[in-house]
């Protein structure tokens, strides 16, 4: 059934595409934030250990599994895994390798569209003269679908669709004609932009400090990131955070590496290719990623501010404000480079997410590149529109958690067990070394067989049963209470203790405190409540004046579960469950396609070898 196979143009192109697949927004945003939240310099040691014991083995496993599958004409994980064993259920584990990509692409393209839009706004100097709060609320306006920042109606949807069409069009040009060309342009530009911005992070010092700010110094930021705190090494939370970061940064457990490697021929190297792409990702993360957001933000806003506010949103809510301080022209150029860098990081990853679906449909149903690419675009649009339309209701976060986090660990654990124990480490080791242009250290044979699966199992179990407040010491000594962020906590909505009905006629407060402000913004009434247990924390609730009637006013004391407004409400828990249902529908649909393909293979006598 397989059509004329696609191919890579050059070895460097393959490595850049593979590195581009791994290098994503997480390299610049997630890594430094994880480091800040996990003790700064203490994080780097577990991170490097996890890279050596889990990251590198997974890279070799996925590259060799992919090349092995490609030998039998399979370019996506369901039948790649099926080739490795006689047990037929493994191919349904392989469904994760298509599912994750489509589901992640659905919301990832939305972030990518933000970067595209912010590139435009940087060039147009939209942020010029805006205050820090103004820029932060600009982002909220942008993700509020009913509001437009450019005059284009449904602007966020428009940019999302532009981004998706661009991805689809590039995918329809094939590997060497599309994906590889983008990687060859995007990766060098990304590194160049990253280096120029990192230079500022390395040299800013206290030159951006405002009067009275004693901790506004980029060197303090670098000091916090890199000062080794060896006592944190005994904290399991830091190790788990490091292991989690390795997953995200290397794009392992997704099925994209296998798909790219499936186009490598039997006697061509994968061992050196995997190392080259993997370390290139490490370079972008450790050298460039660690030198931009945190040091620059500390240089202007201070270390305490960054410790309290470090998060993904800094990229869009803080950086444009800081770039303004560099003057009109340099600030515009820096904003364009920053969002351009994030855009290239994003698009080289989202393109990779399209290839498993396209490979599967070509292998099993004979679909050509164009049909495969445009059908991918359509499915991603169907899956992604809820994340755009109901971003503020939590759909985006739900996709990120189930598809972008849990699925990766489940699939990586399954494939590692399959590779080491079912396919067998002996055959697996031969596969890694076949055609290798480097000597693969022998120590990795036992690591792949014992250490990597064990580490993955620990990561999975830790995510399943995360103890309350992520406090492992207390859990072991005083008894195990689950945290709301654990997988079980998420399934049972442990974190939602107010507004638990899908539909309600009143809206309850989730905090106790005093109503600080009631004001109208973008046609919505906002109620800001100061927390009773904190001097600085506030929570803001939004209501539609036409549909909801406020039950509180400025100065009122409210308790948790008190009614803030009456009217007709659809609570976030409804959107969350619908998002889960939608994801399950996608998985079911893909599993059905695999089932149909299996039957078709039987009829045509093309069963797994």
């Amino acid at each position: 059934m397989s059509n004329t196979s696609d191919s890579w143009g050059s070895r460097v192109g393959l490595i850049l595409a593979m590195a581009g697949n791994a290098v994503g927004l997480g390299n610049f945003l997630r890594f430094p934030v994880q480091a800040v939240q996990n003790g700064g310099g203490a994080f780097i040691i577990p991170y490097l250990v996890c890279f050596l014991l889990m990251g590198i083995p997974l890279l070799w496993i996925e590259w060799s599994v992919g090349r092995f599958g490609g030998r039998f004409g399979n370019h996506s994980t369901p039948f790649i895994l099926d080739n490795m064993t006689k047990r037929k259920f493994w191919k349904y584990f392989g469904v994760f390798g298509i599912f994750t990509n489509i589901a992640v692409a659905a919301y990832y393209c939305y972030i990518e569209s933000w970067t595209l839009s912010y590139m435009y706004h940087s060039l147009m100097q939209t942020f010029s003269g805006m205050s820090q709060t103004g820029i932060a609320s600009f982002f909220d306006s942008y993700t509020d679908i009913g509001h437009s920042t450019t005059g284009i109606p449904y602007e966020a949807v428009v940019f999302y669709i532009i981004c998706l069409v661009l991805n689809t069009w590039i995918l329809s040009k094939g590997l060497s004609g599309g994906v590889e060309k983008v990687a060859k342009i995007g990766m060098p530009l990304l590194i160049a932009f990253g280096f120029l911005l990192a230079l500022k992070g390395w040299t800013l010092g206290d030159s951006g400090a405002t009067a009275g700010c004693t901790d506004c110094n980029s060197f303090l930021g670098l000091d916090f990131l890199w000062k080794p705190e060896f006592k944190s090494l005994y904290d399991p939370k830091v190790w788990l955070a490091a292991a989690g970061q390795i997953f995200f940064t290397l794009s392992v457990g997704m099925g994209t590496i296998q798909c790219y490697a499936a186009y490598v021929k039997k006697n061509d190297d994968i061992a050196l290719n995997a190392m080259s792409a993997g370390w290139m990702n490490g370079f972008v993360e450790i050298v460039l990623g660690a030198s931009i957001v945190i040091p620059i933000a500390v240089g202007y806003l201070g270390l305490d501010w960054v410790k309290e506010n470090a998060g993904f949103s800094m990229a869009f809510q803080t950086m444009p404000y800081l770039f303004q301080k560099w003057g009109l022209y340099l600030g515009t150029a820096a904003g364009f480079m920053w969002f351009g860098l994030l855009f290239f990081a994003g698009i080289t990853s989202s393109l990779a997410m399209g290839t498993p679906w396209m490979g599967f449909m070509r292998d099993e149903f004979g679909w050509n590149l164009k049909k495969g690419a445009w059908s991918f675009g359509l499915i991603v649009l169907m899956m992604g529109l809820p994340t755009v339309l109901f971003y503020q209701e939590g759909v985006f976060g739900e996709y990120d958690y189930w598809a972008g986090t849990v699925s990766l660990v489940v699939f990586a654990l399954a494939e590692t067990i399959l590779f080491s124990w079912v396919f067998g480490i002996k055959r697996g080791w031969e596969e890694i070394n076949l055609g290798a242009d480097m000597r693969v250290p022998g120590i990795y044979k036992p690591i792949i067989k014992y250490v990597t699966p064990l580490l993955l199992l620990i990561v999975f179990l830790a995510a399943l049963f995360t103890p309350k407040d992520n406090d492992w010491k207390r859990a072991f000594s005083e008894g195990w209470e689950l945290d709301a962020s654990s997988i079980i906590g998420n399934i049972t909505h442990m974190g939602i203790d107010v507004n638990r009905d899908y539909f309600a006629e009143h809206y309850e407060s989730g905090v106790s405190g005093q109503v600080k402000r009631v004001y109208t913004e973008r046609s919505k009434v906002k109620v800001e409540i100061s927390h009773a247990d904190s001097d600085t924390k506030t929570t803001t609730y939004e209501f539609h004046p036409a549909e909801h009637k406020l039950q509180v006013q400025e100065g009122d004391q409210v308790n948790r579960l008190d009614k803030l407004a009456t009217g007709s409400f659809v609570n976030n828990i409804f959107y969350t469950d619908m998002a889960r249902l939608w994801l399950m529908c996608l998985f079911g649909f893909l599993a059905y396609l695999v089932h149909r393909a299996t039957k078709q293979r039987k009829l045509s006598g093309r069963e797994a070898s």
């Binding site: 890579w8 143009g9 070895r11 060497s176 890199w226 006697n267 290719n273 370390w279």
Partner: protein, 47 residues
Amino acid sequence: MSNSAFITMIVVQVTVTIITGYFFYKVLTTPPRQEPDSYSENDDELR
């Protein structure tokens, strides 16, 4: 910036840069395999 932070940063960043450079250099300098290989761009020159 403290000495320990500075040394850690330099050691880690320089090591990662050297390893990345080493592997990429090795890729660039390894002679291509005999055709048919996995890459289409050099098909004409090697045939």
